[in-house]
Symmetry: C2
Subunit: 221 residues, 2 copies
């Protein structure tokens, strides 16, 4: 009984997600679902990314969080449009929440839509939001064992950003172990080393985003 | 419809949790549910805690994780008994999983049972496992905004451990903000500053554990 209910919830979610994806692609708007543990640097990454994409690539942002509008307050001044979705006790965003938020968005004016999911390495991996690409963040202080421990999330990633790499020298971090775990679950996604403090990797991330937008939405340069 | 199913799941879980709690209390065994984001240091804390409690307070451990037995392998040599519960895609432990694991435990030989929950700041907060106390870990590199963003978890905590405090001087961390957020959601739980690297706070944590065992289980010294 319970499994049936959950399955129908997932199916309904997937139908809405597919509609979101078409709606956004029709506007040449690439949607990026950012997923990670709490505190791995999703908001800080967007604080650097949105101004760097600049006027040529205007950005919209949806921010999922249980409570508070803290992330939206940080990103509001940088993006064309920002909406905070409070899930209260919900552990992930759903495609319907995204669809409802997009109803008020100036979609024709945007090149990228960043969807910052609820900080959680488990549940968001099960819910398609209608994104075109999934970016998974993994911060150095979380430890080098997380790819093996949360494989479902990392399997789906189109890109993996190792964040806070400025702490690599301070912490006892085994990058080879991360690569070894990734070689088992995902050999497709590039692993970008980034630090919002030093700026490392920001250019590679921006290039990756622009290339994905061209390739996935069939946009000619 | 969906709400009814979820409610009955929660009710069934609570009944099993209550039975777990009685079973353990009858053996003078204090159960501690450890919850936090991934990578905030639950396993490392237990690696320090179990040997420090020593022969006077033998420990058992249940470790929840999606996949891998990495945490159990680290704790196995230290505890009297260790069981890894793999949840596969499940985002939290349940009381039934704990009950099943305890069936094989030498309960009469133990003073503490540590239950290391799945790394997740949302879902574990909704499932009583039959613990006597809840310990919530918050690591410095996760940022100083997490209490406000995940209030449901912090509301329930009986103790909050700020971990990796050796990074306080390196990172731009506002401890006053954490205290201010806590003053709104939980004024009952002590906030212990800890570092498994320097040993800071370990004695306070051990004292807290022993005092809780005496007080909650009515054990005379």
């Amino acid at each position: 009984m319970k499994i049936n209910v959950v399955e129908s919830v997932l199916k309904a979610n997937d139908a809405v997600a597919a509609a979101n994806r078409r709606l956004l692609a029709d506007r040449q708007l690439l949607a990026v679902n950012l997923m990670s543990a709490p505190g791995s640097g999703k908001t800080t990454l967007l604080e650097k990314t949105i101004p760097a994409l600049g006027g040529e690539y205007p950005c919209g942002v949806l921010v999922g969080d249980l409570q508070t509008t803290r992330d939206a307050e940080r990103l509001g001044p940088l993006a064309i449009e920002t909406t905070q979705i409070n899930t209260v006790t919900g552990c992930h965003l759903s495609a319907t929440q995204v669809a409802e938020a997009l109803a008020g968005f100036p979609l024709d004016d945007l090149a990228f839509l960043f969807i910052e999911n609820v900080g959680n390495m488990v549940c968001p991996a099960q819910f398609d939001l209608g994104e075109h690409v999934k970016a998974v963040l993994l911060s150095v202080p979380e430890g080098d064992d997380k790819v093996g421990k949360y494989p479902t999330l990392f399997q789906q990633a189109d890109v993996i950003l190792l964040t806070k790499t400025d702490l690599l020298d301070i912490l006892d971090y085994d990058l080879a172990r991360v690569r070894e775990d990734l070689s088992r679950v995902n050999t497709r996604a590039p692993l970008l080393q980034t630090s919002s403090k030093t700026g490392q990797g920001l250019d590679a991330w921006l290039d990756w985003l622009k290339e994905q937008r061209r390739a996935r939405l069939n946009i000619r340069a």
